[in-house]
Every structure is written in structure tokens, then in C-alpha cells.
Subunit: 189 residues, 2 copies
DNA sequence: AACGCTTTTTGCCAAATGGCAAATGATTTC
DNA sequence: GAAATCATTTGCCATTTGGCAAAAAGCGTT
């Protein structure tokens, strides 16, 4: 729980009562590897914070290929924003890539926090904007590079992730086949 | 000017005085094709709204190749967020792809609006979040597809843009050489 | 240690894309 | 309207990546 507030307080100040109140609305959630935090076709109804583990957001294209949009590591908020905000069905899966420990807030509790705690919306906005900008910055450079360069950029972007997740997920993130990525790895060493 | 407020008022309400006040801080700016709205190495000090024309955000990679991160069309706000917010040098150019008419706000006026107009920050946040989400949604699918699919997606994403900009910019957006894109176009018809 | 299961690597060949240069087409300028 | 300039298309060949299947390596279970 300390971990969560260390994170939150980087974006603004809260007094002890506010912190307690937020804490009182939170639930601990354990996800086993491969389990879903939220699913395509459903409406996302919770906001999560990753205490430990890695999640990924993925979807399937019209050829049934699995595509990883991004990974989310420890100490980040996780929410399918479009689905959660607009109460519409999501088109993506949010899946545990390793066993995960999370702190989650149910939609109604989250909304209550937003209405109750002065300044909470500003903090959440800062966190959201930062996360979205990070997504753009991480994803954009991948389009214009060859596969090797993309892999090297992946290593820079997600230094803590490489050795904890299967190669197939990295391949589906980089838009490369497993075999190609395997060959690329070999050539780099 | 009506165009600007039509846009803004989709995200929240403002009374006539507030609208006048915002208008009073605005300046009209004309950009010729190829001119810059903001530049790498400089700090972005203005927020713009595109009345007419197309801009693009681009940068150069370590091989000197020009890479287009995205296009911005009429009826959108334009600002190099990271640079503007944190007063740090930008790493990207924002360039007019066609002649453009814009309404711009200088940094200090923009900050004054934020402090003066109740609810303005909420509106700006909504606009920002939506724009960032759109960027992620537009850029993400491009990574995992072959060049033809990427071009078809480009057509979907930017239907109003294709015929108004040179092929080389589209190529640099899609991460494909001009020649390849030219061949792809031929094969599609 | 042996088995089954999953992940990663490899070989082979086909398809897609890049690099370069020349040809063609389009647009601007005088 | 001819010349100059810029944008696009095309040809040729090299390189990269994909597709598929088999082999090898890794892992957990018994």
C-alpha cells in the first residue's frame, strides 16, 4: 500500500485522512500468469495499480493474429480508459504476463473518490496524461524501423521486462514473427 | 473563431464572457507550406488551433531519416505538450504540410486563461486526453502490419488527408520507402 | 532420470521491402 | 511555353522478413 501512495504522491499532495479514505476503498487482487484483468467485449469496471508483476494489453487482428499493444510494469496504474470512461465494451484484453499483485478500485468507489477528494481529479489527470504520453513515445518509434532496431528500442524502453516474459509476446509487440526475433537475438550477441 | 468555439464547447460549457475573454487572448497565424509551428531544440511557447490546413509532427532519427510521427488536421489543438508543459526543449518539429490558418495562444495568455476561467482546466484536460488516446489508437496498429495494410489503415485514419499531401510524407509516416509506397498504391487500384 | 509439454532455435525457400538510379510526370518560374 | 525544379514511378537486384515444419532446449511433474 505504501508503494501505491509513494506513486500517487509524486503527482500531488494528499492529507492523511484522504490517504486513509483512498486506502479504505482499495482491494488487493492476485492474478495468476495468463489471467485477465479486463477483457475484450466487456466493460472495464476497475482501476488497478500494479504492485508486482507485468501486464500486457493485447488484441486480435482480422487474421486472428495476437498483437501486443504494450506492456505495463510495476508501479503503474492500469485501466482500459476508453472502456472505463465511456462504459463501452473494450476491444482489448489486459492480461497478466507474470503472476501479479495488484491494488484495485471498483468503478463506483473510484468515482466516489473523484467526487469526494478535492484535488484527486487533478492528480488522476496528471497520471493519465503522463501515461498516455509515454505510450505514444514508446509506440511511435517502432513504426519506422527495421526489426533489429525495434528490438533494441524495446530493450531500452522496457529494460526490466525482457527476461521475465516469453519471446512470443515480445515478437507480437514488435510486429515480428517469433522465428525472426529469435534470429535477431542471435545476431545481436 | 466560431470554428474554435464550436470545437471547445463540445468538451464543456462556457458563458459568453468567458468566450470573449478567451477570444481576446487569441491571435491569428498564417503558416505557409513547410514553415514550422515549433521546432526541435526550442521550447514550445504556444498552443494552436488549426482552422484550415494540415500540420505534421516529425523528427530525424540517427541515420538522418525524416520520420513523420503524425498528422494533425483542421479542428484540432496543436501543442508540443511535453515541451510546453515542462518548458524543456522539444525533439520534434511541427511543420505545416499545406498552407495553414491557425488561432494561437501565447504561453502566458494560455496560463492566464487556466487560472482565470473556472472549468477551463477541465475542458483542456478532456481535449488533451482525447487527443493522446487518439494518437495511441492511430499509431499502435501500424507496428504489427505489412506495408500494404499500414497504408490502408492510413486511408481509414486520415481520409481527408491523402490527396492533400506529398507521398513522401505518407511514406515517412508509415515507415516505408517512397518507392515501396508508390508500388503499393499501384497494386491497390 | 524419464516423460510430456511448452518455448525457442534452426533450415529451407518464398515473398516483401529496400537501395539506387534513371525515366516519367507535374508544377513553378521566368 | 520552355526550362528548371520537384514529385512520383519504374527497373533491377540485394537484403530482410515471413511461413512452415522439424529439431533442440527448457521446465515442471512424477
Amino acid at each position: 500500500m505504501k508503494q501505491l501512495f509513494d506513486f500517487i504522491l509524486r503527482f500531488g499532495n494528499l492529507n492523511p485522512q484522504q490517504i486513509d479514505f483512498i486506502g479504505s476503498k482499495s482491494i488487493t487482487l492476485k492474478l495468476k500468469k495468463d489471467e485477465y484483468f479486463s477483457e475484450a467485449g466487456k466493460i472495464a469496471r476497475q482501476v488497478g495499480f500494479i504492485v508486482d508483476g507485468i501486464l500486457r494489453v493485447c488484441y486480435y487482428n482480422n487474421q486472428g493474429e495476437e498483437i501486443t499493444k504494450y506492456f505495463i510494469e510495476e508501479n503503474n496504474l492500469v485501466v482500459d480508459l476508453e472502456s472505463f470512461n465511456n462504459e463501452i465494451c473494450s476491444s482489448a484484453y489486459v492480461q497478466a504476463v507474470t503472476d501479479c499483485t495488484m491494488i484495485v478500485f471498483q468503478r463506483k468507489d473510484w468515482l466516489e473518490l473523484l467526487q469526494t477528494i478535492v484535488g484527486w481529479d487533478t492528480i488522476v489527470n496528471k497520471i493519465t496524461t503522463r501515461a498516455l504520453m509515454q505510450k505514444v513515445e514508446r509506440r511511435s518509434p517502432l513504426v519506422s524501423e527495421d526489426a533489429t532496431t525495434r528490438y533494441l528500442k524495446f530493450l531500452e524502453i522496457y529494460p526490466t521486462v525482457v527476461n521475465r516474459i516469453p519471446l512470443s509476446y515480445i515478437a507480437s509487440y514488435l510486429g515480428v514473427t517469433q522465428s525472426s526475433l529469435s534470429r535477431i537475438r542471435k545476431n545481436i550477441r
